[in-house]
């Protein structure tokens, strides 16, 4: 290829990366990885037109480009803003960005039921991750939350509109993946809802993918509902020869039992290869599948917190963000305190090994450390 395009240099939180022209700020940040990647609740790489709605990925553009280094006046949605050559972006290094993001998280949660203990999505919910990483510990919202009735959208999918954060991802799936649009958004404002017109079922070979793209527990798999918590299941990669789709899935096993199958997600929780309804809902035996091995878990998730074999940690970016300088600490406790150089047995106080091993009559200052024989001997003296 002779027509090599000039790469754009973009600096995100003091880390410079070269990307193709036309890349968004979010994708440039994802090429760097680690803490500096803005969270994204509505953006989905494979869905055209998605993004820009949830406003969690807001970043500050401190310099528009090398040619025009003026900063952008407002915070911009990094998922829908393309990089320019010489752009300087501030994400976690800018307090106003963090403040705005905190505000968005709080606003996203005011109408969310927070019913995580009974929600099937708990453990792999992007809203849980988001509020844990960027939210505040409590809400200032004191009013009734908006609620909707649950709807069964056909035999496989259930809609809990109450949990929805209106990211529109499922609408784009119905628009772009399946061959007819069957659902959309009705009404407007905080009472708008994802719905099928007159409660029709979602009837399409690929409509099950709306479950995978849903960042929260609004669209759930009826064949998996209340069967198990995701952190008790073990994900394995598997495939089968499917006439409709590529048949590459992640199976979620408990013992030998297939509890559910989902499309494979990358480290940003996004599906690149959609799967059909047959693979997702109907093939629930291990004999239907050729199992490849444990799924790589490379996102923080409750599954990764257990003794799971296949975990890859994201890149550590903190020292790069700080310009090569280690994080500023109040004091380096290892140098200042010298706590590691002390022989514990020399400290008057709680019993140490010596108390028991070397001198059976050793006398410690701690009254509870007195040994029985000693007490007895004292008693005898009296």
């Amino acid at each position: 290829m002779s027509d090599e395009k000039k790469l754009f240099k973009v600096t995100i939180d003091n880390i410079t990366v070269e990307v193709q022209p036309g890349t968004t700020i979010l994708n440039a940040a994802r090429q760097i990885g680690g803490d500096i990647v803005p969270p994204a609740m509505c953006y989905y790489t494979s869905l055209k037109g998605s993004g820009g709605k949830c406003r969690t990925c807001l970043v500050k553009v401190a310099a528009g480009s090398a040619a025009d280094p003026r900063p952008m006046p407002k915070l911009v949605a990094s998922c829908r803003t393309n990089v320019m050559d010489g752009m300087v972006v501030e994400n976690i290094t800018n307090p106003s960005v963090l403040e705005a993001r905190k505000g968005v998280v709080e606003l996203l949660l005011i109408n969310h039921p927070l019913d995580c203990p009974i929600c099937d999505q708990a453990g792999e919910c992007h809203l849980q991750d988001l509020s844990y990483e960027h939210g505040v510990e409590s809400t200032r919202y004191e009013f009734n939350r908006r609620t909707f009735d649950k709807h069964d959208l056909g035999p496989y999918i259930q809609l809990h509109m109450t949990r929805c954060i209106l990211c529109y991802r499922c609408v784009y799936v119905a628009d772009q993946i399946s061959n007819k649009r069957v659902h959309g958004v009705l009404d407007r404002g905080d009472h708008s809802e994802i719905a099928t017109y007159i409660k029709q079922s979602l009837d399409n070979d690929f409509i099950g993918n709306v479950i995978d793209v849903c960042p929260v527990g609004a669209l759930t798999d009826r064949t998996f509902r209340f069967k198990n918590r995701v952190w008790f299941t073990k994900p394995v990669d598997a495939h089968r020869d499917c006439p409709t789709c590529k048949g590459k899935v992640t199976l979620w096993l408990r013992g030998d039992e297939v509890l559910r199958s989902t499309a494979r997600k990358d480290q940003w929780g996004e599906v690149s290869e959609w799967i059909c309804n047959t693979c997702r809902f109907e093939k629930k035996k291990t004999s239907d599948w050729i199992i490849e091995g444990p799924t790589v878990v490379n996102r923080q998730s409750v599954i990764g917190q257990g003794h799971y074999v296949n975990i890859t940690k994201p890149r550590e970016t903190i020292s790069d963000v700080m310009g090569g300088r280690p994080p500023k600490l109040l004091m380096d406790i290892h140098n200042v305190s010298g706590v590691n150089n002390v022989d514990l047995s020399e400290i008057p106080g709680p019993a140490s090994g010596k108390t028991f091993e070397e001198d059976p009559h050793a006398f410690a200052t701690n009254p509870t450390d007195r040994k029985k024989p000693e007490l007895n001997s004292n008693h005898e003296l009296e």
């Binding site: 820009g52 829908r80 407007r188 404002g189």
Partner: protein
Amino acid sequence: MGRKILIDKVHIEGIRFFDTYRKNGGYASLEKALKISPAEVVEEVKKSGLRGRGGAGFPTGLKWSFLAKPEGIQRYLVVNADESEPGTFKDRYLMEFIPHLLIEGMIVSSYALGANTAYIYIRGEYAWIIDILQKAIDEAKEQSFLGKNILGSGYDCEIFIHRGAGAYICGEETALLESLEGKRGNPRIKPPFPAVKGLWDCPTVVNNVETIAAVVPIINEGGDEYALIGIGKSTGTKLISACGNIKKPGVYEIDMTISVEEFIYSDEYCGGIPNGRRLKACIPGGSSVPILPANLLLKTAKGETRLMNYESLADGGFQSGSMMGSGGFIVLDEDQCIVRHTYTLARFYRHESCGQCSPCREGTGWMEKILLNIERGKGKMSDIDLLWDIQSKIEGNTICPLGDAAAWPVAAAIRHFRDEFEWHVQNPEECLRRNYGLAGYAEPLEAVIS
């Protein structure tokens, strides 16, 4: 007496119809424009210094010159007649009484932009105006001022009317385009701007009714002549729709050199406050712009007389100023309750938020609920700070300006009338029976500062 150039002929009987309009100098600007090149028409508009009358006040000539002009791709002119801002009704007046002025302005503007199709996106509630406009279009077509080969110049132009379905958000230009395309009226994420990718992905200019109507006198008299009217960068005349506690509500054309005080109290305009009441506050540019207390409205923070124009109303930023906006001039007298007023606006914005992006969707509802609590005497002191915090989280973080429009009135009400909010919280029973009244708002500014 201010100079009138837009609605000077409104009182002529039958001006709504083509014959009378033509006899009174109508369509002269079209004849004049067709003799010069489109670029020269744009140049005239640039020279005139005309600023968008829809609210933002962006220079129209500049907007037109941003229009992308790729070969072989259709361009569109869209007229924003979705006038839904509470307190604004100037476009309705123009379209209802002198519809040919808009049609004439649209043909001239389309010619200048090289567009062969123009749309009027009109608010659905203006049902009878649609008939008036349609009749005007039909008349113009009969006389070959519209349609194929206009006046033998070889230029074709068609105008279509599209009716909105009652959503305030469709007054935002990209939501308007979505709605015009037959989709849900959600604002688009910018960039790309409509000038590059607008209606059906073609370059599009979206202008307010009054802006397009103002093109007619600009071409008739010349851009330089038009620029002489007014003051500074606020050239030309502006329609102000005055309402609220004034003796003579209605649409007034001003030349932007008169003071706010004169506008409210002179008999030529609003005629003062009725029933011997005194002025408490005013929203000078439609419900979205910050409210100002009487003392800051009549005089700027520097002590200068505030004039009815873009710069003077915005003097002092949002700390002590407001905006010209769309010219919806809402006057509140001493009997009005600011908390109730702010609640009404918050309820409006909650109802009209499209629900696309989260800060506006959730934040507007939250603000409304808190304001209702304070209004009903169930509020807490911390609620006022909370309101302030919520509005700051919405402002600037949304896709379209509706989030800002919802945040600004709340912010301004707390900034200028915090004592009234506190009084509501401290006197939960009294606030149900009576209003806070005038307090210090009408005192001269010096007295308040010292």
